[in-house]
């Protein structure tokens, strides 16, 4: 079956596949759900910024979220309808945290916006990348990395690898996509190949998908592309990008190095298909093929809109009783969903409904006996048992030395451990602890800088004040009767300078606050963003008033001054009392 040489990688495991549960039937279109909860965080990187308001009518494919920063993509309405809510919604993420999302109620008409294909051959590559970003294209293999950032400048990449391996058990969405839409995938591959200037296209497919291999081979022959199908042995995780690159080209991409620097780039078949639709038809990424499998009546692949609530999606497949949980993703790398009131994200390639027979509860974790089976299984040739020991003793320095961050969390090590140790849990814990430590160090360094600057500033002010006092000592003897005014003027000048500086700082920080995560509850409203003329005039008037008041005070007799002070104290006391009373009332309200 295979004409290409395959360069096997180290390790790997062979879990039972269960792919024929869902690979028999063609992709079915999911009907319009009752509502769509479209997350604004649809790629790694930043959340998109919402562009619509509650109550606004949107059309299918309309941009409802603008990319925020370089590592971000646009978000689109999956169907026409009304925006009913913009606010935090639970994400499909192991943490169960919420991120901003736009809820749309479909109007049933499914009306498209005016779609414009892109004449990609005759525009600058930058325009094509921006178009892909504005069409919301991210990697659909599960990593959701913005695809426009993967199309690097021409000439760097020699081999474009199309990832049709789909190594995880249960998942068959890529298999069906290749069987039914091979031409579209290859058209997308052709576009990407030209953009990258690559010389050849290699399609990697595991040997448990013979129909897909045949269909893709036929489609390649018909298209005349310089492409070839490399059939790789069925071994998990041959679908991991690095492993597939090694299998097909014998190039080993270390962690931290971009594969484009070594002349290869890898795209998932689903991503390529979406790229083709985006460029040739102007259709943004608003749907994806999801495998619904496991303990369901009608396992299979469904093309569902992004944002479809997962409980409605699973109703299509018909969840059987005795379901013990829901896994988002595959059984080796997916995560358990806390509840199903979540909108489908672009990373959702599969939902497995667990049952007690195929997913039995974990046996008791025994101690590690250093048998080395995990190291034998690791595709990155790491030493998982050493990671386990180092994590238990919190030796984070040793973990980094042993290359913990090269781990792709594939789960092969935990799959073979005779002691049933949850190895990947330890690694994930260690990674998040190390990252948290780094963030803390950065925050501490930043705080130290600000503190040191503050000390410097205070020193500087003291020095300047001393200099000014010294400078004034000479003319003070001459202008005896008007000494009050120059002192005040100098003070007022300083006060004005400080105020101006503070307002500048406030303006800068207010601007920063607007740029970042506006929807995470702002604790206090930022100060006025600009020092407008009206305010400046008011400040000047206030300062003037203060100066006049000071002059009056100076001219007063001590008794008058004392009376004035007492009056002022009384006013402040009254204000404090009022504040205290108000606070007490508030607390009483809270308690009720």
């Amino acid at each position: 079956m295979n004409s290409r040489t395959i360069f096997p990688f180290h390790g790997g495991v062979h879990p039972p596949e269960f792919k024929d549960l869902s690979s028999g039937a063609p992709i079915a279109a999911a009907p319009l759900p009752s509502k769509l909860v479209v997350p604004l965080l649809q790629s790694v990187g930043n959340c998109a910024r919402p562009l619509v308001q509650v109550g606004e009518r949107v059309l299918k494919g309309q941009k409802i979220g603008a990319p925020d920063g370089a590592l971000s993509v646009a978000v689109h309405a999956p169907t026409s309808g009304i925006v009913t809510a913009i606010g935090p919604a639970m994400l499909a993420h192991p943490s169960g945290l919420s991120e901003p999302a736009i809820t749309i109620e479909p109007d049933g008409e499914d009306r498209w916006i005016d779609r414009q294909p892109l004449d990609w051959r005759n525009v600058e590559p930058r325009i094509v990348r921006e178009h892909l970003r504005d069409m919301g294209i991210v990697g659909l293999g599960g990593a959701i990395f913005p695809s426009h950032l993967k199309i690097v400048e021409k000439g760097k990449v020699k081999t474009l690898i199309v990832n049709g391996a789909e190594c995880e058990p249960y998942i068959t969405c890529d298999d069906r996509l290749m069987r039914e839409r091979a031409e579209g995938i290859l058209a997308g591959a052709a576009i990407v190949r030209e953009l990258l200037g690559a010389q050849q296209i290699l399609v990697g497919i595991e040997d448990n998908k013979p129909e897909a291999v045949a269909i893709m081979r036929e489609a390649i022959r018909a298209s005349g592309l310089p492409a070839d199908v490399g059939v790789v042995p069925t071994l998990y995780p041959s679908g991991a990008a690095k492993q597939l690159i090694k299998l097909l080209t014998n190039i080993e991409v270390p962690s931290g190095v971009r594969s484009t620097d070594l002349g290869v780039q890898c795209f998932n078949v689903g991503t390529l298909y979406t790229i083709w639709r985006a460029i040739e038809f102007g259709e943004p990424a608003i749907s994806r093929v999801v495998t619904l499998t496991g303990n369901v009546e009608r396992p299979g692949n469904y093309e569902a809109l992004i944002g479809t609530p997962l409980n409605e999606l699973l109703q299509l497949a018909g969840v059987r009783p005795q379901a013990t949980g829901y896994v988002y993703g595959g059984p080796m790398m997916g995560f358990e969903l806390a509840n199903l009131d979540i909108g489908l994200s672009k990373a959702g390639n599969c939902i497995i409904v667990r049952d007690a027979v195929h997913f039995p509860p974990r046996p008791l974790e025994m101690p590690c006996i250093r048998c080395g089976k995990c190291a034998d299984a690791c595709p990155i040739e790491l030493q998982p048992m050493d990671f386990y020991w180092f994590t238990r003793s919190k030796r984070y320095d040793k973990l980094e030395q042993w290359q913990l961050f090269d781990c792709i969390e594939c789960g092969a090590c935990a799959y073979v451990c005779p002691s049933h140790i949850r190895l990947v849990d330890y690694f994930r814990y260690a990674k998040s602890e190390i990252w948290a430590d780094e963030r803390q160090m950065k925050a501490a360094d930043h705080a130290r800088q600000r503190h040191e600057f503050r000390q410097f500033r205070e020193e500087r002010e003291k020095r300047e004040k001393a200099e000014r006092l010294a400078a004034r000592a000479a003319p003070k003897a001459v202008e005896a009767n008007s000494e009050a005014a120059p002192v005040d003027a100098a003070d007022a000048e300083r006060a004005a300078r400080i105020k101006a500086a503070m307002e500048r700082a406030a303006a800068k920080n207010a601007a920063l606050n607007v740029e970042s995560a506006p929807l995470v509850e702002p604790p206090a409203a930022p100060t006025e963003p600009a020092l407008d003329e009206e305010k400046a005039a008011r400040i000047r008037a206030a300062m003037q008033k203060r100066e006049e008041e000071k002059a009056r005070l100076a001219a007063m007799s001590p008794e008058e001054r004392a009376a004035l002070d007492a009056e002022k104290a009384a006013r402040i006391a009254a204000a404090k009392e009022k504040a205290a009373a108000k606070k007490a009332a508030q607390e009483q309200d809270k308690a009720e």
Partner: protein, 188 residues
């Protein structure tokens, strides 16, 4: 007798030679390290809150380096910080005293705008200039810069500053340490 003297002579010569080698190595291959104070300061969390009794993290670090302070005084650093200091200074780990409230969640200060009178007292108290405002004008806390040291809460004459815990977001969320339920036979 001669053998005895010979033995002594050989030992003395060996000692002198080895001592010379060690001394030479100690001087020629001396490693230029950060001074100890900077190393300690790296570990401290830089909240400059003063809960250790010293007016800031650098003074506490200086005191630690001079051996004048205990290592378990830093509250924001928590137990982790005490362990790191113990490692660095070669001292034994000392748990934090019971009165000191440990493991408070990381918080930031919030000024209630309705109550603020614009006195700038909190502004002057903040060690990292995280409060902006001017006299008789509304003050506000820059959340990103606030370290949660709580030095601003006390000076406020109208008591309008409260501490809110920093909400968890996707970047700050951490995986939990895997807990394996063992059936513990007897409780102590």
């Amino acid at each position: 007798m001669i053998a005895f003297l010979e033995a002594i002579l050989i030992m003395v010569v060996l000692a002198v030679v080895l001592g010379a080698v060690l001394g030479f190595a100690a001087i020629k291959y001396k490693v230029d390290d950060d001074p100890l104070v900077d190393k300690i300061d790296e570990i401290l969390p830089q909240t400059q809150c003063g809960q250790c009794g010293y007016p800031g993290c650098k003074p506490y670090a200086t005191a630690l380096a001079a051996g004048e302070a205990e290592i378990n005084l830093c509250v924001p650093g928590g137990e982790d910080g005490v362990r790191k200091l113990a490692d660095l200074l070669g001292k034994d780990f000392v748990p934090m005293s019971a009165e000191v409230q440990v493991e408070k969640p990381k918080s930031y200060a919030v000024i209630d705008e309705n109550l603020c009178i614009g006195c700038t007292l909190c502004l002057q108290a903040c060690p990292v200039d995280a409060i902006v405002g001017s006299a008789k004008h509304l003050h506000t806390v820059l959340v990103k810069e606030c370290t949660g040291c709580e030095l601003c809460v006390a000076p406020c004459p109208v008591n309008c500053i409260s501490m809110k815990p920093v909400p968890e977001n996707l970047t700050s969320w951490k995986w939990h340490y895997p807990v394996i339920p063992l059936k513990v036979k007897k409780q102590a």
